[in-house]
């Protein structure tokens, strides 16, 4: 059985295992170093339990546990406020029309503007899972449990949710957008820059990023082609998020030009479909498989369950599922179809 729950200090090694197997784009929100990851877990626990230090931003980290083995097989996160109190950097792709009436010529000139417009929106992040689970129900559970958490803790989050999708990277690790732009200014390779961007202080981006807008036409062709394109490995994630209601807007990652997806929180599929209902026992283990969650803050749990019956205000679910969720009859749960 798959269970999503808040990350705990004991998950450290399992998470490090998973983080190490991920592409570099992840490292900005999921540290690969023990110290950094350990404090991230501590911060997450404080966030779940509402015991944050003064001014400490809320950052939540979830794990996907295989309950048969107790082993963690995936991790996902939410930053309540993108940027965590600092600017959240993106490029905003926009077009200017350069036209000469007299000469009768008109050209669409694409420009990348440095932007912080997504700062303070809720950010889905830190998603990593064992590659053999990609595209399975467990994968969907790990990702969407976050939406259920948002639904059941709505006041902690903003009206808009964003998520960065890894951009184009060649098989030998080259990032065309970085090579054409960022490399010249940061004077380091993509992986190094990406790791630094996981640090709390984004001062180095303010210091090193080109201060003026960038003309797309001056980028290499490979970089132009990569604008707003997701990495092929992210396809399952991308599709899942689209089904959830996320759409690519005009924002791009400053390092690899991957797309930033946006959605209105209250229009997220998981939020719309998962009204709170009272938990009751079903006499059968049959039913369509659904996502279910329950529990407040640090007690939040989410899992997959066959749904025996769903009425207006109550659901009937096998008591086996109750155990995983740590709930009992009469408790409030949220259910959403796969």
């Amino acid at each position: 059985m798959w269970l999503v729950r808040p990350a705990q200090p004991g998950d450290l090694n399992d998470i490090l295992d998973i983080a190490g197997g991920q592409g570099p784009r992840m490292s900005s929100t999921l540290p690969k170093k023990q110290d950094a990851l350990s404090s991230k877990i501590d911060q997450s626990i404080r966030s779940f339990t509402g015991t944050n230090k003064p001014d400490e931003p809320k950052r939540f980290l979830f794990v996907l546990e295989d309950t048969r083995t107790g082993k963690v097989q995936g991790v996902s996160g939410i930053d309540a406020r993108a940027g965590n109190g600092q600017p959240f950097y993106n490029y905003r792709q926009d077009a200017l029309i350069h036209a000469s009436h007299e000469l009768g010529v008109s050209r669409r000139v694409e420009v990348l503007y440095p932007s912080h417009a997504l700062t303070d929106h809720t950010l889905l992040c830190s998603f990593a899972i064992r590659s053999d689970l990609r595209g399975t129900d467990a994968f969907e559970l790990l990702s969407r449990a976050r939406m259920l958490f948002i639904a059941s803790h709505r006041s902690l989050f903003t009206d808009k949710v964003v998520v960065e999708i890894q951009g184009v990277q060649t098989q030998d690790g080259e990032v065309p957008f970085w090579d054409s732009l960022g490399r010249h200014f940061f004077n380091m390779d993509f992986e190094t820059a990406d790791q630094y961007s996981g640090l709390l202080s984004k001062t180095f981006i303010a210091e090193l990023m080109p201060p003026n807008p960038i003309y797309v036409t001056l980028l290499s062709q490979a970089a132009q082609d990569a604008l707003g394109q997701p990495h092929s490995q992210t396809q399952a994630t991308y599709e899942l998020l689209q089904r959830e209601g996320f759409r690519a807007g005009c924002y791009l990652d400053i390092f690899d030009a991957g797309p930033v997806l946006e959605a209105r929180t209250d229009a997220l599929r998981s939020v719309v479909t998962s009204h709170p209902k009272t938990l009751h026992a079903s006499s059968t283990d049959d039913g369509e498989t659904c996502l279910i969650c329950g529990g407040e803050g640090g007690d939040f749990r989410s899992t997959l369950t066959p749904l025996a019956e769903s009425l207006k205000d109550e659901v009937k679910v096998s008591p086996k599922t109750w155990e995983y969720l740590g709930l009992s009859s009469g408790d409030t749960v949220r259910v959403t179809p796969l």
């Binding site: 007299e102 090193l208 201060p211």
Partner: protein, 348 residues
């Protein structure tokens, strides 16, 4: 005798022929009869002080008095950018540094600039191929500095010249190919011509307004920024010898450099001296090497004349010149004339 004088209406044919021969390098004098006629008209009004000083366009003809024909031309525009907008790129540097990460990067950057607006430009130098060599080009170019010196109130303190940038034998400019062509739907030659015609609103409309970071351009384009076309190297050397320096401004199309100098520090100005004319009867060997010649100007605004004489004519207070030279200069005994060496003598 070769004499500098203001350009006249009847020089049009000669001017047109020279403009045709010049090819695409000289954008301020395109081979367009109507336009050239207007330029001459403008110059006439300038010398006759019938136009505002800041709108002045001074065009000087080099007349071969035997051929009775204009064989060269050079010009001064009193102030650029008043009628149209004058654009350059300023070659600047953007520094990004992070002490924390021990990174320090300097990025050469082109900023679109109008900072030359209101400055005096020396421009439009053309010389018939039949008359090249022997210091004739020097006379045609440097006579302008004598004029600038004598009539400083009509000009800005600084004067500059734009030098033709690098292009290949097909007229392709590496900077244009990498930058301009991405924004202008036309060939370099067409943009250059349009710009020369003085209608620059298309630049405001089509030009990128944000700075251009040079590392984003290909090597071939970066290499030509601030460099001159090989045909222009002699002209650049001449101006450098006069005291002109690269001022960080480059042409927005081909990346050719602008060079500038304070009028008071131009060599022709610094080395200029005044003498009273004495008409000499003694015969004079005028056919001396360029190194031994000096330019002599009559210091007239309206009827400016310059020719060259041997340096030996210069005395302590006077300069003794043959009657035909005096006639060509329209001066008489006792008139004050200005003298300056024709060629770089190596003194500083």
């Amino acid at each position: 005798m070769l004499v500098i004088r203001p350009l006249q209406e009847n020089d049009l044919d000669a001017l047109y022929a020279m403009a045709q021969g010049a090819g695409k390098g000289l954008t301020t004098l395109p081979a367009d009869r109507a336009l050239l006629a207007r330029k001459i008209q403008h110059a006439r009004e300038t010398f006759n002080q019938r136009c505002a000083p800041e709108a002045g366009l001074y065009l000087f003809a080099l007349e071969d008095t035997e051929l009775k024909r204009c064989v060269g031309i050079s010009g001064i525009q009193a102030r650029v950018g008043l009628d149209e907008v004058f654009y350059n790129y300023r070659l600047s540097v953007t520094v990004n540094a992070s002490r924390e990460l021990d990174v320090h990067v300097r990025t050469p950057t082109l900023h679109l600039s109008n900072d030359m607006t209101g400055t005096t430009e020396v421009c439009s130098l053309l010389l018939s191929s039949s008359h090249r060599g022997g210091g004739t080009g020097l006379l045609l170019s440097r006579c302008r500095f004598m004029f600038l010196d004598d009539f400083r109130s009509h000009f800005s303190e600084k004067v500059f010249a734009e030098m033709r940038g690098v292009s290949d034998s097909n007229g392709q400019s590496p900077l244009w190919d990498a930058l301009g062509s991405k924004f202008f739907d036309m060939e370099f030659s067409e943009a250059d011509m349009l710009s020369g015609l003085g209608n620059k609103s298309f630049i405001a409309e089509l030009m990128p307004k944000y700075p251009i970071y040079l590392p984003m351009l290909p090597d071939a384009a970066r290499a030509v920024i601030g460099r001159v076309h090989e045909n222009t190297e002699p002209a650049l050397k001449m101006l450098q010898a006069e005291g002109f320096n690269f001022n960080g401004m480059v042409d927005i199309f081909d990346g050719g450099p602008a060079v500038e100098a304070f009028i008071h520090s131009i060599r022709t100005v610094r080395e200029g001296i005044n003498r009273h004319v004495m008409i000499r009867k003694k015969p004079l060997v005028t056919d001396v090497p360029a190194e031994q010649q000096v330019m002599i100007s009559n210091r007239s605004f309206r009827d400016f004349r310059v020719t060259t004489i041997p340096a030996e004519c210069i005395g302590l207070d006077t300069v003794s010149i043959p009657a035909d030279v005096a006639e060509a200069l329209e001066v008489e005994s006792g008139d004050l004339v200005r003298l300056a060496p024709l060629k770089d003598t190596g003194r500083r």
